[in-house]
Every structure is written in C-alpha cells, then in structure tokens.
C-alpha cells in the first residue's frame, strides 16, 4: 500500500529542522562608553570551537589595541577590546573565520 503516494504518512507540519529554528547562534558586537571619549567593544557568542585566546591575540595585534577574555556565567567567554572596534571585528569575523554576515549583530549607536 505504501506505493500509493496519497497513503504515505507524511506530516507536512513536522519540524523540518531548517535554519530558521536555530537562530540563537548570533554573535553580538557591542560598544560601551567609558569615561571621557573612551569606549569598550565586547564580542559575545563566538562559537566554542574557536580558540578565543588565539583570536584575541590576532585581534589585538591587528587593531593595535589591548583586550582580554572575560568569562561570564550566562554568555560564556567574551572578548573585550579597547576602543570602538565594532566594524573591524565584524569584517575580521566575516573574512577570516567565514562567519555569515547575517549571524553577526552590531549593537550600539
């Protein structure tokens, strides 16, 4: 009976497991104001398969700024960089780590 297509048990409402469902893997790039005109850039939500320590080392050298890794209970490890490096970080993630552009969210003004 299974040869008849109409009798196949296909559930059209079943979860297809598309990329729409798992949209929680965003990478957030934020900026925070410090005293004066100083700012801080935070990169949150990088995939754990990357070695953040090495990424940080390259970022620090490339952007000529200081930075460090912060461990957060909820967000995991977060990269902190001195200064407004949002656009540069986003470019780096896209070009060097092949992260799709739609997964990166830049916050702040």
């Amino acid at each position: 009976m299974s040869t008849i297509q109409n009798l196949n048990s296909f559930d059209p409402f079943a979860d297809t497991g598309d990329s729409e469902a798992q949209a929680t893997n965003y990478i957030h790039i934020r900026i925070q104001q410090r005293n004066g005109r100083k700012t801080l850039t935070t990169v949150q939500g990088l995939p754990s398969e990357y070695d953040l320590k090495k990424i940080l080392k390259v970022l620090k050298k490339d952007f000529a700024c200081n930075g460090n890794l912060v461990k957060d209970e909820d967000m995991g490890e977060v990269i902190q960089l001195q200064g407004d490096q949002r656009v540069k970080v986003a470019e780096f993630l896209i070009s060097q780590l092949q992260i799709p552009k739609k997964n990166i969210k830049i916050h702040g003004f």
């Binding site: 957030h28 934020r30 900026i31 925070q32 104001q33 410090r34 005293n35 005109r37 801080l40 935070t42 949150q44 912060v70 957060d72 909820d74 967000m75 977060v78 902190q80 916050h107 702040g108 003004f109």
Partner: protein
C-alpha cells in the same frame, strides 16, 4: 580625415569608372576599403565584423551600403560613450557622397525603413517610466508612495546635562508617533547603548554617557526596523502585543493584518567598567 585613411582621390577614380556598365561590380571594392578604414579608427570590437562585411560586399555592392547604414546607426547610438564624434561625422559625409554617386534612391529607402524600426520598438525604460507615471497618478499607494505625514518621526532632541549625561527630550513624543509603549522604547535604548538612565519630572529621558542626536537617530532607526515596521507591507501602522499564553511579543500589522513574532530585548553581556563601582555594590 587623415587618420581615417580616407583618400578623396579614390573617390574621383571611382567616378570615372561609374560611367560604364561594370560600375556595380567594381564599386564594391572601394566601399569596402572605406568601411575598413573607418573601422580601423573605431574600437577593436568592430573589427570582428570586418571579414563578414567583405564577403557580403564582394557579392553585391548594395548590401555593403546597407551594412554601412547599420554601422552608422550603431555609431549614432554609441556616440555618447565613445567620444569619437569626428569619426562619425566623417563617416556620414562619406556615406552621403557614396549615396549621391550611385545608389541614391535605395539608400533613402533603407533609411526610412530603419527609422520605422526604431520607432516601432519603444525602449523598455521609456515604457516602464510611463507605466509608473500613470500608476502614480491613479493609485499612488500601489506605486510605493508613503501615506502622508502621519508617520513623520520627529528628530531626536539631545541635550547635554552636565558633562556625563545626555537628556533625550522627546522620547515620549517619538514613542506616541510610533504607537509603542515608551517603556519598551527606553528599555531598547538602554540595551543598545549599554547604559542606564532614568526619566525626569517632565518625562524626559536622562541617559548616562554622551550621545549625539545622530547616534540616537541610528539606534531609533534600528528600533523602528525591528519593532515597528511590518516586514510584509513595510507599513508602520502596527501594534506590539504580548501573548499571555506563551509570553512572546507579537507584532501585528493594522494595514495588511500579518503577524510576526519579535525577539525580546536582551541586554547581553555588560562589561564591568571601573573597579570602584564594583566595590561600592
């Protein structure tokens, strides 16, 4: 004239020959030479055509003229791009001469037919702009016109309060224009700017940190895209509702009736700034 390699003496020779009966057969070769010389002055792209023209012109002189005519037409179109007006003018003069010598009536016929073809095939751009003009006149909504000044968002007014705080004066006004709860908008602003603040007695927002009106505008724009505009019809006439059953926020459009879920505002990671504040808490 010299760079074209057009030799008037050639033409004179031809005139002598034309008087005899053999004229059509011999006339082909000088015409071909002329065209060749002309094309040499033009782009290399044209050179690909050359052998084909030679072949056709050897068989009969009239097609050569025809092709010359077409070449002239293409030249007219390309005049703006390749600034070789002088070449074109020379070519036209030459064409006239050639036409007068031998095939005046046929050349005229050809030009008329070609112009008719040009008139018959209206360019797509023209038709498209015509269509949109008519659409704008009759139903401006379909042509993508925004519905009036109803959704003009006033520019954010930012004043400095002291040296470290910013006064965002017209939050309330902007929130009412966007048909949103001011609390929601303020919450978004805090999350995006990574600061904190409060509302003063005149319902103005006091933000910690220095912010320019331009920066506020970009943040507001993002808020509008995410929480105000309908993704289906781009209308800003929407309502944000909180479904009590699943505690999710839903944006429903008043214009087209579509509904979509929006993510809740998340502050995300906040770096600790200054060691002293940590000690105080």
């Amino acid at each position: 004239m010299s760079d074209l390699g057009f030799d008037p003496s050639l033409k004179k020779k031809k005139k002598k020959v034309v008087s005899t009966e053999e004229a059509p057969s011999t006339e082909g070769s000088p015409a071909v030479a002329d065209t060749d010389d002309l094309f040499s002055g033009l782009k290399k792209k044209k050179k690909a055509k050359k052998p084909v023209e030679e072949q056709s012109s050897k068989s009969s002189p009239v097609p050569a003229d025809l092709e010359a005519e077409f070449a002239d037409l293409t030249l007219k179109k390309k005049k703006k791009k390749s600034v070789k007006a002088a070449d074109v003018l020379d070519f036209e003069q030459q064409l006239e001469q050639a036409g007068i010598e031998e095939t005046t009536p046929t050349a005229e016929e050809e030009t008329t037919t070609v112009s008719a073809q040009e008139l018959g095939g209206l360019p797509y751009e023209e038709l498209l702009s015509r269509f949109f003009n008519i659409l704008k006149e009759n139903n401006p909504e379909l042509a993508g016109a925004r519905s009036g000044p109803k959704f003009r968002i006033p520019p954010p007014v930012c004043q400095r309060e002291g040296s470290k705080k910013t006064l965002f004066a017209n939050v309330q006004e902007i929130a009412t224009v966007l048909q949103r709860n001011p609390e929601h908008l303020i919450q978004y602003l805090f999350a995006e700017l990574g600061t904190s603040g409060s509302i003063d007695g005149e319902k103005r927002l006091v933000l910690r940190g220095k912010f320019q009106p331009k920066q506020m505008e970009s943040v507001l724009r993002r808020y509008i895209i995410e929480y105000v505009t309908c993704k289906t019809c781009k209308s800003m006439n929407t309502v944000l509702k909180r479904e009590s059953a699943n505690r999710l926020h839903f944006l429903s459009c008043n214009a087209c009736g579509s509904t979509r879920s929006v993510s809740s505002i998340k502050t995300g990671f906040q770096a600790q700034i200054g060691k002293r504040k940590k000690l105080l808490i």
